[in-house]
């Protein structure tokens, strides 16, 4: 397909290999044409979701002056880091990932996520052990550092995936934006579900609810734009988008759109309209949103196709 030549044999090979076929060498099979990536999958999707929810919870609670929520955010990010270690071939060498800061997004992410976890833990320790009041001047200093870091963590999954030029469906500047919308909406839904049971005094549930609805709307727009752009893009990206809509319909439509968008939006609207008991509806909405988030991220990772070599 992409062979650039005037050579008749090369052109014949390009024609021959242009259709996806399986080439066999003994028991080994090589697929010409489109080839699915199989290295990353559900675990990476779950890690990305946890990072997004953790970062939003951390930043949101820091701005609200709710130390328990900050601790929860840090804990979620820490769990994501632990899962991230299990994804590596050599977890013991994880710190080597800091060697290429500035060039590799994984290196940049390792540095920022590591620093955020440590700073967040320090905030919690200062509040819990030293008794410094949440929301004070020192808290603002932490917010100046941690809120931008949380924003980076939100876009980070998109940056890691978009750094793969071999997979056109991922290699898009829209993916970090989609990742931001996904993480933000999931985090806000989770935060809303946590506020009532923990009895946070003066929690702006209504205001947060509106922000959560807004983030769900933004996510819907980002997702629609992303898929539409991919359907107009190069062949491999089109094929991935087609697989996302058809072959992975359960994950995309059922999980990503149904559980991750429509149901949380409906439950939020009902809650904000005073149509039912707030706490159970918000909890159900958050659970649906989280599972939908994982499903959508998993679907996007799963349909990643390499550009055909021939």
């Amino acid at each position: 397909m992409s062979l650039m030549n005037a050579n008749p044999l090369a052109a014949a090979i390009a024609g021959e290999f242009g259709m996806p076929i399986v080439l066999r060498q003994g028991t080994l099979h090589f697929v010409s044409g489109y080839k699915l990536q199989t290295l990353w999958g559900f675990r990476e999707a779950a890690i990305f979701t946890l990072e997004g929810v953790g970062a939003t919870t951390l930043a949101g609670c820091l701005l609200l002056g709710w130390a328990t929520g900050v601790a929860l955010g840090v804990a979620l990010i820490a769990v994501a880091v632990l899962l991230l270690l299990s994804h590596l071939g050599h977890p013991a060498k994880a710190l080597l990932a800091l060697r290429n800061v500035g060039r590799s997004w994984i290196s940049n992410g390792t540095a920022v996520i590591g620093a955020t976890t440590l700073l967040g833990a320090l905030y919690v320790a200062l509040h819990g052990l030293a008794g410094l009041p949440a929301g004070g001047g020192w808290s603002q200093a932490f917010a100046w550092l941690l809120v931008p870091a949380a924003l980076f963590i939100l876009v980070y999954p998109g940056l890691v995936l978009s750094a793969s030029p071999a997979i056109p469906f991922w290699s898009s500047g829209l993916l970090p934006v989609l990742s931001l919308a996904l993480g933000l909406s999931s985090g806000l839904c989770t935060l809303l579900a946590l506020l009532p049971p923990l009895g946070v005094a003066g929690a702006p549930v209504e205001g947060l609810g509106r922000w959560a609805l807004l983030s769900l709307g933004a996510l819907a727009v980002c997702l629609a734009v992303y898929v539409a752009v991919m359907l107009q893009s190069v062949a491999a990206a089109y094929e991935s988008a087609w697989r996302l809509l058809r072959r992975e319909a359960l994950l995309f439509w059922g999980g990503g759109c149904g559980l991750g968008l429509a149901l949380p939006a409906l439950l939020l609207a009902l809650t904000l309209g005073g149509q039912g008991p707030a706490a159970p509806l918000l909890a159900l909405g958050a659970a649906a949103k989280l599972s939908g988030d994982v499903a959508l991220r998993y679907a996007i990772i799963k349909v990643g196709l390499f550009d055909p070599v021939f």
Partner: protein
Amino acid sequence: MSRYAMVIDLARCNGCNACVVACKVEHNSPNGIVLTAILEAERGQYPQANRIFFPVLCNHCERPPCVPVCPSKATTVRDDGIVLVDWVKCIGCGACAQACPYDQRFYVKDNRVGFPGAGEGFTKPGTFKPPRGVVVKCDFCFHRVDEGLQPACVTVCPTDARIFGDRDEPQSRINQLIARNNAWSLLPDKGTRPCVYYVG
């Protein structure tokens, strides 16, 4: 300074797989992983049917996309253009495998080899069995090249379909082949500038 490259003459390749076997032996590559492969397909219909053989390997790109994505700087490019993975530094994140447009990086989930003692007594110095959890790829047999030898796949090719040499030597055979035969490379639109060329 040398700049190594390989030309593969498709008209000469008869799909004997000697290069694949030599590579596997030389690199002691784990079961299920071949660092160079011969893709084959049937073309046409009887009585004009024939088979096409297409050797593939790491392209040792001049602008390798696998290098910047590596968080631990385990993937490096030598001055002579050979792209290598340092297994000591590789953390096994798989980012390079996702970035390679040629799908020529292989994650070692299981490093068992075909038979006990495989790989012992071959040319490459030291332990050569790749550990689990790292990424492996063709290294142009740099250990042989450093000793003035040709890569194993080139040495064993009975039809002389693989030609290895220095692109920086204007009179080298490889340069003449590239210039005279309208050589082409895979996925030129990716901007990676591969150093494996095809002619024939």
